[in-house]
Amino acid sequence: MKFHFDIVVVGAGHAGVEASLASARLGHKTLLISTNLDKISGMSCNPSVGGLAKGHMVRELDILGGEMGKAADETCLQFKRLNSSKGPAVRGTRMQTDKEKYSRRMGEVVRAQENLSVLEGEVKKLELLGCECFGVVLQDGSVVRSKCTIITTGTFMNAVMHVGFEQTSGGRVGEPATHGLSDQLAAFGFKVQRLKTGTPPRLNRQSIDFSKTIEQWGDQTFYPFSFGSERQFKLQQVPCFLSRTTDQTHEIINKNLNKSPLYCGIIEGVGPRYCPSIEDKVVRFKEKTSHQTFLEPESLETDLIYLQGISTSLPRSVQDLFIRTIPGLENVRFERYGYAVEYDFVEPQQIFHSLETRPIKNLFLAGQINGTSGYEEAAVQGLIAGINASARVSHRSPLVLGRSQAYIGVLIDDLVTKGTQEPYRMFTSRAEHRLVLREDNTIDRLADVAADVGLVPEGRQQAMFGVRESRSALLKELGNQKLYPNELTQKKLLEIGSSVLLKSISYKDLLRRPEINCSHLKGLGFDHQSDILSDPNINDSVEIEVKYDGYIKRQNELIGQAAKFEETLLPVDLDYLSLLGLSAEEREKLNRVRPRTLGQAQRISGVNPSAIQSLLIFMRTRTAKETLLGKSKTRS
């Protein structure tokens, strides 16, 4: 049996769903294949979307036309703006979501999508001809032909789950691993390596004594991820519960380290440093006598409670013991034990910024297969892979976002340039241009790109442009109109808790005062449309632009200084191994990464500024030679 599609997407996790939706919405006949169609966009680990730097990416994804933000808004059980007391660039939106509803909603969207078909099955291998991919082969031997193929297999390739010394094949509880694909890639010459991740136990809500924990509620004010979502909760909001490990917990863990696959050398994959298991925390930070844990409800429809912070792969009998030493959990019933999972990933230095693999044409990789961790990291890669596979099918150039343009740009550039040794998670500190990559200015940064990509419906696109224009109009007006010191003005200023004016100032300068915000302006005589002044979509971002003007300017200066390097493209066929002025290490690294731009070359660790000078010299020589050759040709 043979099928023909424009684009085939393997895997229906967060990456696969965004990839297949993007591709289908861009008008390409798309097939989404998964081993388990009941778990579309399943949340295998924590029940939340967003967080610091991750929330930024969800907003970017939303503006570009992705689905994750909308789904999270609709299924939000608890909302929090993290770092709300800190500067606007490092505030991040996080939503606890209802896992069941989230997955079901995504499944509905996928099934209702025009141009998109779904198929349950396991992909055994790629259909290759030379260095080009023409589709996939399923377990029953049937072939699905496609122009482009996107692999988003998450933690499933050659996956092994560990609980104590017990090992089971599988990428998630109850779901077997997939075999064939990564072996084929390795045989083709790809560098395929192992990573490890873990998940905590799931407990039954009815068996927990919540009186021994501290209730934690979310924020009252809701700032949805998606542009256009209503600023109102769709679901009933629920609390989480805080508890802590005790001396006893640590004692039991320490006593049973000899039963931990992590400490007995059974697990060889590298786990994330920012998400260590509880046994890791107890061993590495001996001076800490207690670690906090949040009890988080997974869904309104089930009794599952996620035990955040207590990921473990100790044997069940040990988990039974130590979990019950945590206050509130004395009589707890386990719904599922914690486990670690080891899986194959493809070293991401082997892919282009477009997410297409270097060795095999028309093959794209997205999500955990590229060594990342997290739903958001996966989703944005899925979106970019979907957009770029579509671009390939319709002979357009790929979308590559810059590091000063979006966190998505930082993520992909980091992966492609530096590779990764542990599951890669986004942090705000990874973005050197952090001050201009804010949640509030996502529209300003990406509305044009979104229009180019064409995933966003026309009406929504116009609304985005409208918001952007309203913002710049307001900003301009704030600079133009002036406030004069008269009796009434001074009185009003004092009432607000501000100080009197010594001379006339622009409203923009007035807004720079920390105690002044947009809501005060009307009362102080600022003449502008009321609805715009009170629209948080507009005034939030304008206020921030004004108050952080100095820093933003300096950041933009730095971006400008780097621009020349970011724009200087390096020839793809450059022979680094014979290039003068480079150390052996620099030659080897440049040759492996094959940077797209001079800026990227400089970001490769171990490539020093002197090497960049050498590259500049080489490029100059090359242009000069080409000019000479050109001249001699015309002469002859």
Partner: protein
């Protein structure tokens, strides 16, 4: 986090004649703002000077003091060595004066050129042909090799060690700020803002010490002076040439060839050292040589260290002993040169030291180990001397390294400014990403001195320092 900067549009300046004392020094200013910057000092230049024309007048400092009477040549863009708008200032050759002129140019918006930067720009602007490109590459390569080499041989307390320490401390502060941002939900124990600011001010203090070392070490003192002294034809000039790695002094078989003192300066592990080749000491026949010998005695008094060179073939002579009796031995090391002429080095050295004792010269006063053996001919001799010198300098000048390059000085001033800014923001209670922003700028300046690209050091530090995990 990593900031890459394009410096190619900066206006740069440097002395383009060899450093050291000479009659005339040429300071070159090149870049888009070359004329504007130079005119700030040389007000006598017309607003639109003619290319390839020389102008005469007084340079004035920012406080309107006369600096020097100078000749300034103007080269318009496209018609200079670098291909950029260039001015060349011919001033008198005192090192202090040149330094002051450079300081003024930098004050008015130029920056000190990196080594080889004029040549690099000339190439990038197509002013040097393709064949020459390779030599530019070699230059850059040798520079980085030299840096690596220097870094490798820096003893404890050297400049690179100091910079690494500063870098480490800045990273510590950044790790605490960043942990407070990216892991604010993790209930981590980061240090208080007050302690963080205190740490920051400590770093600022360290950087300031380096900044002042430049003023002290370079402008005023001119580094450590090492006089090469000895009888005529002992091989002083050959040794000098070896140290200078080029033929600066004229070497002949005729004793008394060096009539005047010659000086050569270089940077030894972050310390400025100048060698002075002196005229050989003897009862001279003619007046010119006599004058030279008088000068030698001046140098013996002034120098911080003395290499007393002895021809091993002849051994210590009466003349040597007479001179050594007059010198402060605590700054002398004997160099037994032409040691290839003797068979048993140990026996020879023992004999020589014994002779000193007999003559009433306490050889224990000499700088340890008292003597070095050289042939003044090869690299291994050079290594022996430089290693000895480095360790002696560390003992003599203490552990404090000295900034000798103006470009480094300038970058340190920037680093200092930014770190003080960061501390102020911390104290004012500003959000951590703002303080971090200034710290990254500071770190970027330090990295430029180190010639290093940035890695994910901050995240590594956070994971080492804090217990993190959802």
């Amino acid at each position: 986090m990593n900031w890459l900067r394009d410096h190619s549009q900066d206006t740069i300046c440097a002395q383009s004649t060899a450093s050291g004392e000479g009659a005339i020094a040429v300071v070159r200013v090149s870049g888009p703002k070359a004329l504007v910057v130079t005119r700030s000092l040389a007000a006598f230049l017309p607003e639109f000077p003619e290319s390839h024309k020389i102008y005469f007048g007084y340079l004035k400092s920012r406080s309107n003091q006369d600096l020097d009477q100078v000749l300034v040549s103007y080269f318009k863009q496209g018609h200079s060595f670098t291909g950029e708008e260039t001015l060349e200032i011919n001033c008198h050759g005192s090192a202090a004066l040149v330094n002051q002129v450079l300081a003024e140019l930098i004050y008015f918006g130029a920056r000190a050129a990196d080594r080889g930067e004029f040549t690099f720009r000339a190439f990038m602007n197509g002013k040097i042909d393709l064949v020459q490109a390779e030599s530019v590459l070699a230059l850059i390569q040798s520079q980085s090799l030299e840096m690596a080499f220097e870094a490798g041989r820096q003893l404890k307390g050297g400049l690179s060690v100091k910079l690494e320490e500063i870098e480490k401390n800045v990273l510590f502060c950044l790790a605490h700020l960043e942990a407070n941002i990216d892991f604010s939900e993790e209930n981590i124990q980061s240090i208080s803002p007050t302690d963080l600011a205190r740490k920051g001010f400590d770093i600022a203090h360290e950087i300031r010490a380096l900044v002042t070392s430049f003023e002290r070490g370079n402008i005023l003192a001119g580094g450590c002076q090492v006089a090469i002294v000895g009888m005529p034809n002992a091989g002083k000039s050959s040794l000098f040439n070896l140290l200078a790695r080029e033929e600066r002094a004229i070497v002949t078989e005729v004793p008394g060839t060096t009539r005047d003192s010659i000086e050569f300066k270089f940077n030894l592990g972050g310390r400025l050292v100048s060698f002075i080749d002196t005229a050989g000491i003897r009862q001279a026949a003619e007046t010119i040589e006599k004058k030279g010998i008088e000068k030698t005695f001046l140098w013996i008094d002034r120098a911080h260290l003395i290499f007393y060179v002895v021809d091993s073939g002849l051994g210590l002579q009466e003349g040597d002993l007479e001179i050594l009796k007059k010198i402060d031995l605590s700054k002398v090391i004997l160099i037994f040169n032409k040691s290839d002429l003797i068979a048993d080095h140990q026996l020879f050295a023992d004999q020589m030291l014994c002779w000193l004792e007999i003559s009433g010269i306490d050889s224990k006063l000499l700088l340890k180990p008292g003597f070095l053996l050289t042939s003044a001919l090869n690299e291994s001799d050079l290594n022996v001397i430089e290693q000895w010198l480095t360790s002696t300098l560390v003992q003599k000048t203490g552990q404090e390294p000295t900034i000798v390059q103006r470009r480094h000085f300038e970058l340190l001033v920037q680093a200092l400014e930014k770190i003080e800014m960061a501390c102020t923001k911390i104290i004012e209670g500003e959000s951590p990403e703002i303080s971090a922003f200034f710290l990254y700028e500071s770190l970027s300046s330090i990295h430029q001195i180190q010639g290093k690209s940035v890695t994910d050091d901050v995240l590594d530090r956070i994971f080492k320092e804090f217990c993190i995990g959802k």
